[in-house]
């Protein structure tokens, strides 16, 4: 694998301002349509739009999906468990940054 050592790589910021479609999310995460459907049902990711064809996800969803896939594969946690883990991790992050500011 060669890298052009003079080129500066840009990349995309996975923020709440940039959106992708259902199909794009599947491709970016390497997840199947069924897996994404299940995660939406579980509330792990929340798209805008009424039907799957209209669904738009912010790129923050990418990290959430990939984390769930890893937690499921590595630690055998089921989907509702993964959803709870993500929520608790978010809360921990908030608390840590509150602590850091005091």
């Amino acid at each position: 694998m060669s890298h052009n050592s003079n080129a500066y790589l840009q990349g995309i910021v996975l923020d709440e301002e940039t959106y992708c479609s259902f199909g794009e999310l599947c491709r970016l995460c390497g997840a199947s349509a069924e897996q994404i459907h299940e995660m939406v049902a579980e509330g792990i990711i929340s798209p805008e739009g009424r039907t799957p064809a209209e669904w738009r996800f912010t790129l923050v969803s990418l990290h959430r999906v990939q984390t769930v896939v890893r937690l499921h594969q590595d630690l055998h946690i089921n989907l509702p468990g993964c959803a709870l883990v993500l929520e608790l991790l978010d809360e921990l992050d908030s608390l840590r940054s509150l602590l850091a500011r005091s």
Binding site: H3, A7, L9, I12, L75, S97
Partner: protein, 311 residues
């Protein structure tokens, strides 16, 4: 290479039962999983844990490992005996990631390869996670940085080792701590001609002596005198964009917050602000003249800040 004490890694006794080993593995895997544990060495420890379980869960590998284990301690320099046959071990449901097992493991058990032959084996490369620390000034303005990453490289004998590689990156302005940047195709190489994985870069901030960042907002504590608070003032205040003038309204109190628009972490789409929190600092009275000034204030501005306490 260093000897690895797999029993110590899982926290079990050398005579632990298979059930005890499985239980210990599950518990310690949860503890050090990199998505859950944010310590720097979590990923390396998680890898060691997977490797330890790979050996201790298999009776054949475990007894082979035990044959050498009794005389060695973790970290000691180790070499397998000349008549050791590493090629005869099978792998089922391997816990190895794409980066494989340690040199120590491979010296004892050979390289874990996929069941199909090497030519037929084709799989997209795995993603790689990395973190980069930048200053708040860099985040405010955007910057270019060079990152050094360890990546696996295969030599002519097919042996994989980790080599440092350099990547030149653009960090866009207004990036926040904890945000990730996705660099497509910059992850680990694919197998059998398949595409490489992607690189995910997590942004961390170096602690700043003056400012604290909370999402897009930059926070600054600003010490002011009692007369600046009571009478109002125009003060010079530091920002990530240099010094600016800030008007303190008259009769400001300790803890009052003032907003400097656009002086936080702003992107093209979203503005971030700087919040200045006023910290009224009282000069101490050391001379009689200074004490007299305070007594004069007490007489002329009588008020009880403790009425709500009922005292």
């Amino acid at each position: 290479m260093e000897y690895k004490d797999y029993y110590q890694i899982l926290g079990v006794a050398r005579d632990a039962s298979p059930d005890a080993i499985k239980q210990a593995y599950r518990k310690v895997a949860r503890k050090f999983h990199p998505d859950v544990n944010k310590e720097k060495d979590a990923e390396a420890r998680f890898k060691d844990i997977g490797e330890a379980y790979e050996v201790l869960k298999d009776p054949e590998k475990r007894s082979a490992y035990d044959r050498f284990g009794a005389n060695w301690q973790a970290g000691e320099q180790f070499r397998p005996p000349p008549d050791w046959d590493a090629g005869s071990y099978e792998f089922h449901g391997s816990t190895a990631g794409a980066q494989g097992f340690s040199d120590f493991f491979e010296a004892l058990f050979g390289q874990a390869r996929a069941q199909s032959t090497r030519q037929e084996f084709r799989m997209q490369g795995e993603d790689q996670q990395a973190a980069i620390s930048i200053s708040l000034e860099d985040a405010y303005r955007g910057t270019r940085q060079t990152l050094t990453l360890n990546r696996p490289e295969m030599d002519e004998q097919g042996h994989v080792s980790m080599r440092p590689q350099q990547l030149n990156l653009v960090i866009p302005k207004g990036i926040m701590a904890g945000q990730r940047i996705r660099l497509e195709g910059q992850g680990l190489p694919g197998h059998g001609g398949a595409a490489p994985g992607d690189l995910y870069l997590e942004i961390h901030f170096i602690p700043h002596p003056l400012f604290k960042a909370e999402k897009r907002t930059i926070h600054l504590q600003l010490p002011i005198t009692p007369w600046e608070a009571a009478l109002g003032a125009s003060l010079t205040v530091p920002t990530l964009d240099g010094k600016v003038q800030l008007k303190i309204p008259p009769n400001s109190q300790n803890g009052s917050k003032l907003r400097l628009r656009g002086k936080g972490l702003s992107t093209e789409k979203t503005q971030g602000d700087q919040i200045v929190t006023l910290q009224v600092v009282l000069p101490e009275a050391h001379t009689e003249e200074q004490r007299a000034l305070y007594r004069s204030m007490a007489e002329k501005m009588a008020f009880n800040p403790r009425t709500d306490l009922g005292v």
